[in-house]
């Protein structure tokens, strides 16, 4: 693997950029996943679309789990509520650090 630069870390995950490969990596703890920029945008949209309130509704989401399919179905993740929230934090911070988000991470997470 080519050298990578750490961009941002949350409690569970770490976000890297690889200048040589012109791509990004997220270390999910047990697995390192490579993302092109398009795949990263798609991940962000999927994570943002998760209705976190449903995790607290026993009838809608009794187990508080979310199934995420990433990188055109190459990876499948099952995340619990805390992991979803942490992934949101990671992406908010990472996009801000990448200089394509207008809002400060603290402001963005409050929105």
């Amino acid at each position: 693997m080519f050298p990578m630069e750490r961009i941002h870390s949350s409690r569970y995950y770490t976000f890297y950029q690889s200048d040589t490969e012109r791509c990004f990596y997220i270390d999910f703890g047990h697995k390192l996943v490579r993302f092109t920029f398009c795949e990263l945008l798609s991940l962000r949209q999927k994570v943002w679309a998760i209705d976190i309130e449903s995790h607290f509704d026993d009838e809608v989401n009794p187990h508080g789990l979310e199934i995420l399919s990433l990188c055109n179905k190459e990876h499948l993740f099952i995340l619990n509520t805390l992991e979803v929230l942490d992934l949101k934090d990671l992406l908010t911070g990472a996009f801000f650090m990448l200089d394509i988000a207008a809002q400060h991470p603290v402001l963005a997470s409050k929105a």
Partner: protein, 170 residues
């Protein structure tokens, strides 16, 4: 460190999110106009139906314009999921009142994106949306002029037929 993300996308992610929401709104407006056109077509209001069919196509064009812009800027345009379209109207006047309300909502949403883009120094987005700002003024005027006809000509019987005959044909 290379600025890879910025090299891939020319607009802010917040703008992309708002433009995707606008795509959804324009798509819903197109479907909603189609429902209105169907209502008019079934009741013999031929010119109103024609106008609403055209409006439906126009809203879809707007949607596609934004869709293409998002992708051209390196963003990820999302195909809209359209549901909950109202097909029930109590009168021809209600059809056009609904149309005007819908246009006002679209105008507000466009203005909101322009204001946010300006605040975020996302000038490409602001510039792109200027065409929509002008277009929305025209759309609102079209519907308002039609609603004026109900005040001038009445709301019953032959008045409705005469109003329908005065609906502008493009």
């Amino acid at each position: 460190m290379k600025d890879i993300a910025r090299q891939q996308m020319s607009i802010k992610v917040e703008s992309m999110d708002m433009l995707n929401a606008q795509i959804q709104m324009e798509g819903k407006a197109s479907a909603s106009y189609l429902a209105m056109a169907s209502w008019c077509d079934q009741r013999g209001y031929a010119r109103s139906a024609d106008l609403l069919y055209r409006q439906s196509a126009e809203e879809r064009e707007h949607m596609m314009k934004i869709f293409k812009f998002v992708n051209d800027c390196g963003g990820n345009a999302l195909s809209p999921e359209i549901k909950n379209i109202n097909h029930d109207f109590s009168s021809l006047e209600e059809v056009f009142e609904t149309a005007l309300s819908q246009e006002i909502e679209v105008t507000k949403s466009i203005n909101n994106i322009v204001a946010t883009a300006r605040k975020n120094n996302d000038f490409g987005v602001e510039n792109f949306l200027q065409w929509f700002v002008t277009e929305q003024l025209e759309e609102e005027k079209t519907m308002r002029d039609i609603l004026d006809l109900f005040d001038l000509m009445g709301r019953d019987g032959i008045a409705l037929k005469l109003i329908d005959e005065r609906i502008p044909a493009k």
